[in-house]
Each structure stands twice: as C-alpha cells, then as structure tokens.
C-alpha cells in the first residue's frame, strides 16, 4: 500500500467539506488539491519516513489514515475559509437554492458545524484541526445550531 492508496478513500469526504465551504464543484475540487499539496509539502519528511505501510496492521492503517485526514483538513480549514471569504460576493450570486440557511452561515461556523455533525469530530479534535481556541469552537457550534434551527422554524411558520 502506498500513500495514495492510504488517502484515496478520503477523497469524497474531503470534497464534501470543501463544497460545504464553497458550493461550486470546480472551486471545491481545487480546494481539495490545494490542501493536499500544502499538506504534502509541509509533511513530506514525516510521510516519507512512515512510508512502510505494508507492515502496519489494519487498525494502524485506519489510525494513520485518520491522522492524515485530520492533517489535510487542517490546511483545508485554513484555505477553504480564506477562499470562501474572498469569493463571498461571487458565491452570493451563484448560490444554490438548497440548504440556503447552511450556506448563509459565516465560513468558520459552517466549518465547525460540518466537522462536528457530518464528520462527527469531537470538540477537542475540532480545536486541533481548526487551531481555534476551544471557547470559539463552542461559540460557533452554538451560533450555528441556533441559526440553522431558527431559520427552519421561521420557514415552517405560517
């Protein structure tokens, strides 16, 4: 097993997070590639040093995959949030009609909500991935929950 085989099952998940930050197929794909490239450049030494994947047990492979996943996500969080902010005007014009409440959230709130409720990361893991202070992660989770559920209640109100 090589590094590509190790990370390729993550492709779909990486795309999903990228798309949640920028709802545009091409932009989202570009974020996946850019995040992976930065991760590879920054972590090249450690990846090459631990390349002997043949000797790992299934459990260790899962663990290694999860660690690389979190590593790539850390760069995706940074790149995706920055790009989402830069493209916010353009995105407003092309915004999809579905999941409007979610896409209207500010990028960092979308990121935290997605990591928690789609990828099921714990608050502490989100702190590691996003490099945000713990209180900020909790605050964004709270705000995101409130805005999403409130928007839905407003929507069903006659």
């Amino acid at each position: 097993m090589d590094f590509f085989e190790l990370v390729q099952p993550l492709t779909d998940k990486l795309f999903r997070l990228a798309y949640s930050l920028i709802p545009d197929d091409l932009q989202a794909e570009q974020i996946v590639i850019d995040s992976l490239n930065v991760y590879l450049l920054k972590e090249k030494k450690s990846i090459l040093a631990s390349r002997d994947l043949e000797t790992l047990s299934n459990k260790d492979i899962q663990l290694a995959r999860r660690n690389h996943f979190k590593g790539i996500l850390a760069y995706m969080a940074e790149i995706g949030v920055r790009r989402s902010t830069q493209l916010s005007d353009q995105l407003k014009r092309t915004r999809t009609q579905e999941f409007v409440a979610f896409f209207n959230l500010e990028p960092k709130v979308k990121l935290v909500i997605f990591l928690r409720y789609d990828f099921q990361f714990t608050v502490d893991e989100i702190v590691d991935i996003t490099s945000m202070p713990r209180y900020e992660v909790i605050e964004k989770l709270h705000n995101g929950r409130f805005l999403l559920l409130n928007d839905m209640n407003d929507g069903v109100r006659p």
Binding site: D2, F3, F4, V7, Q8, T11, D12, F15, R16, Y19, S20, P23, D25, A28, E29, V32, I33, L36, N37, L40, L41, K44, I47, L48, E98, F99, A101, F102, F103, I113, F114, R116, Y117, D118, T122, V123, D124, R134, V137, I138, L141, H142, R145, L148, L149, M152
Partner: protein
Amino acid sequence: MMEKTQNTTTYISFQKKIVSYLDGSLSNDDKSEFEAFVRTHPEFEAQIKTKEDEISLLKSLIPVMTLSKESLESLKNEMKLSILNLLKEEPKSFMEKIKFSWEEWINR
C-alpha cells in the same frame, strides 16, 4: 421554599448542559456530574431525547454533496499526480537521478 428554588436552579443548570453533553464539550468532571444527575432523574432522559432529535434535524440541514463517478475518478487522478510529484524522493546519486528520470519518462 428555598430548597425548592435551589432544586429548580440545579435542574435548569443541567438542562443547559444537555447540548454540551451531546456535543462532547463538557469537561470530564462536568460530564461525570451530568451523568450522575441523569441517573438520579430518569425523567431527564426525555429531554435528552428531545435534544438528540433536534441534532438529527440539524444534520438534515447540512448539505451532503457527492461527486459523480467520473468527477470522483478525475479528482483521485489529480490527487495521485500531486502525490507522485510532491512525494518524490530526491535522487542521492547520479545513477539514481538517471533511474528516476527514466521512470518519469516511462510513466508519462
């Protein structure tokens, strides 16, 4: 009277912790305290269930986008190319340099 007010305050303070408990954002001490409270107040479980339902609803408000098979394959190929290009080991000798160049040319 005072005891009743205190119980109500305690009850409300634990109510406020339900989402944090479900989110896993409570400290270990708070989590143990919360679980102990739930064990002694079985009716509290209904409130936890309500919050769990709310979180399930929240999950349905998050987009779950999937790529078409072709786009997924194309993205995987791009990732593979990045990995091949960026994880290349530097050649240590002249012979290795020739070997790597040869392999690169073959794989083109």
